[in-house]
């Protein structure tokens, strides 16, 4: 880590909490097992083909030793511990905050070098076909995912006290999502705004719940998750109950906002705002491990601020690799968070 990075943002300041939200999200992103898979897109395609073939080999020969991403004849850096797609989309959002949201996304259209969620891919196709938001997010098979919930962290960090925050978040979320996908973004923004302003995790969770009507799937799940986690009393102890209460075992794309946002809220609250307690528990929800740890990290990092986060994790998570958005390779999240102030 470069010296001086942390001197300008004293602990206890809003700027430190903004940096905490960003790096906390990246730490959670790095902690989940899917991160290494996302980062393997930086390797030659034949590496992933070989991985698929080895998976088939393991199936045929009844082997339990799974071929996780590896770097045969390749640079090893992409598969070291580090952030992946969610941290990059947070950074992209922070860097494009002041652009019209449909224009910002439309500018990504036609690119063949992006790796994106199904909701984002479908939204880009809709925009290219002349379907503007909110239709681009609505006529979308993964309208319910948490892509916008990740991006919402940037809006809340940039304008925590603004009365316009919900409108800004909705405008962004509606490009790629609708229904629970938009509600999840509003809830994350509301919670992060409270935390960046110095509020407690309890107050943040209350603010998030106020955005989640009880008769929606995400509202129902958030209340169910909080009840389960409070009963367990501790993030790690809550993992089995959250798995049973939240996870959809029928459909295995584990990025539904109605699952990941409630898991993050519940673990953040029951941890009292401790990233080192909440994020490992989120990473244990293996089917939600793509993004629930990242959202959990954003909440807990925003609560404690960057200075309270473990140094080794900050060092591992702050530098982006460009596995989803190649132009962000090498970008420093702490710098990007600082640019919001």
């Amino acid at each position: 880590m470069q010296s001086g990075d942390r001197t300008k943002d004293a602990p206890g300041t809003a700027a430190d909490r903004v940096a905490g939200a960003f790096v906390g999200l990246a730490i959670g992103d790095a902690a989940g097992w899917p991160s290494a898979r996302h980062r393997s897109t930086l390797l030659a395609p034949w590496t992933r083909r070989l991985e698929r073939e080895l998976d088939a080999f393991a199936e045929e020969h009844r082997l339990t030793t799974l071929p996780v991403p590896f770097t045969l004849n390749q640079p090893v850096e992409p598969l070291a511990l580090g952030p992946s797609d969610d941290a990059e989309w947070l950074a992209w959002t922070a860097l494009t905050l002041h652009q019209d949201r449909a224009e910002a996304f439309t500018a990504l259209g036609g690119r063949s070098d992006l790796r994106v969620r199904i909701s984002v891919r479908s939204a880009l196709a809709n925009l290219a076909a002349g379907k503007p938001p909110p239709v681009s997010g609505h006529d979308n098979p993964h309208h319910f995912d948490d892509a916008a919930a990740v991006r919402a962290v940037a809006f809340a960090a940039a304008a925590p006290g603004s009365a316009a925050l919900p409108d800004l978040v909705r405008a962004d979320a509606s490009v790629t999502n609708s229904g629970d996908g938009v509600l999840g973004a509003l809830a994350m923004a509301a919670a992060v705004a409270v935390l960046v302003a110095g509020g407690t995790m309890g107050a943040a969770v209350e603010a998030a719940l106020a955005e989640l009507p009880g008769d929606t799937a995400i509202g129902h799940a958030a209340r169910t998750a909080l009840t389960a986690a409070r009963r367990a009393g501790d993030p790690f102890a809550a993992v089995p109950a959250l798995d049973a209460a939240l996870v959809d075992h029928v459909y295995s794309y584990g990025v539904a906002a109605a699952q990941t946002v409630p898991a993050a809220l519940a673990l953040a609250e029951v941890s009292g705002g401790s990233l080192t307690a909440a994020v490992p528990a989120a990473a244990c929800l293996s089917s939600l491990a793509d993004s629930a740890p990242a959202l959990t990290g954003a909440l807990t990092g925003a609560r404690t601020g960057l200075r309270a986060l473990p140094e080794g994790w900050c060092a591992a998570a702050r530098t982006l690799t460009g596995c989803g958005l190649p132009e962000l390779a090498g970008a420093d999240l702490i710098d990007i968070a600082g640019g919001l102030a």
């Binding site: 891919r121 479908s122 098979p141 799937a217 129902h220 029928v250 459909y251 539904a256």
Partner: protein, 328 residues
């Protein structure tokens, strides 16, 4: 006349289900490579979940009629479907599997249709035809009734897909022209919906004679699953229009468009069969349709769609009989 339309509707549905089955999840080019033009039912294979869930929906209507509530449907799931699932649940759409999981968790409708992520599934559209038979000539009532069933397993666009099919079948049951049938489906769903946008795009693409344009407008390319109701219903209605409402041509057109081909061909067959009647279903197809095997839904094993259609027709006649409200 209505009895033959009712029987034609469900026979057409079962034939489309069976004919489309080998084309499921394939693009048109691959269907052409394997089958040339797919026009025959694979002998001895029968239908899938589309037929069996349709029989289940018809049995709900026979039992509860127009007074059916979502709680009745949820209870039937708990009593008729869930206990017979021995191990894996076979041959069901995402929405039905999701609803079963939700009901097992103790959720009630409408949350049972919203808790899972597959509210958009075509699982309601595939079983919507009986609602159109029951409410023949009354598309509004068909759309209302199918949603009573639909909210147990589906949300928003998945419910709209079912409503479009049920309303269209209700009008097809009057012998209306295909364009009028499709308009009835469109009128049953909100204009600002994915289903409505796709249906309108499908009508335009068929009018322009362009399958390429149809695909560009309604097929979700960057998604591994084909059972999105807005896509499947649009392809089904397109097949029906391409076939000018004739049973054989409608079913074959829909099946050869691929994607969720068993469901789209089943819906096209239901619309065309309702319009043209039982005798219009090719005899060589009708011979392949036997009693349901219960492979997907054990509770319907042994029931033949033609008997189900006759019972459903009788139930609808009783429901509308003037002496129904006489004091007992």
């Amino acid at each position: 006349m209505s009895l033959t339309r009712a029987r034609g509707c469900l026979l057409g549905l079962a034939a489309g289900d069976a004919l489309g089955r080998p084309a499921e999840n394939l693009p048109p080019e691959e269907i052409a490579r394997r089958h040339g033009r797919l026009t025959e039912i694979e002998p001895g294979k029968g239908g899938t979940d589309d037929t069996e869930y349709t029989i289940f929906a018809a049995s709900l209507l026979c039992r509860y009629g127009a007074a059916m509530t979502p709680a009745d449907v949820a209870r039937e799931y708990r009593e008729q479907i869930i206990p017979s699932i021995d191990g894996p649940m076979r041959g069901a759409g995402f929405s039905e599997l999701g609803a079963v999981q939700a009901l097992r968790r103790g959720l009630a409708p409408p949350m049972s249709g919203e808790w899972h992520q597959h509210g958009w599934s075509d699982g309601l559209a595939m079983r919507a035809a009986p609602y159109g038979i029951f409410a023949a000539g009354d598309p509004g009532e068909a759309a209302r009734l199918v949603a009573v069933d639909g909210v147990v397993s589906n949300g928003v666009e998945g419910v709209y897909g079912g409503q479009a099919v049920a309303a269209a079948v209700a009008v097809a049951m009057t012998g209306a022209a295909p364009a009028e049938v499709v308009q009835a489906g469109l009128a049953a769903v909100p204009e600002d919906s994915w289903t409505s946008r796709n249906l309108r795009a499908a009508v335009d693409a068929v009018a322009a004679g362009s399958v390429e344009r149809l695909y560009a407008a309604v097929v979700v390319r960057h998604y591994p699953w084909t059972d999105l109701a807005p896509e499947a219903v649009a392809l089904a209605f397109a097949g029906y229009l391409m076939g000018a409402g004739e049973v054989e041509e409608s079913v074959v057109s829909a099946a050869n468009l691929g994607r969720d081909a068993d469901t789209t061909a089943a819906i096209a067959g239901a619309l065309a069969g309702a319009g043209r009647g039982e005798a219009a279903v090719p005899a060589r197809w009708a011979r392949e349709i036997g009693p349901a095997t219960g492979r997907c839904l054990p509770v319907v094993a042994g029931r033949h769609v033609l008997d189900v259609a006759t019972a459903l027709y009788a139930a609808s006649q009783n429901a509308h009989a003037p002496d129904d409200e006489a004091p007992r």
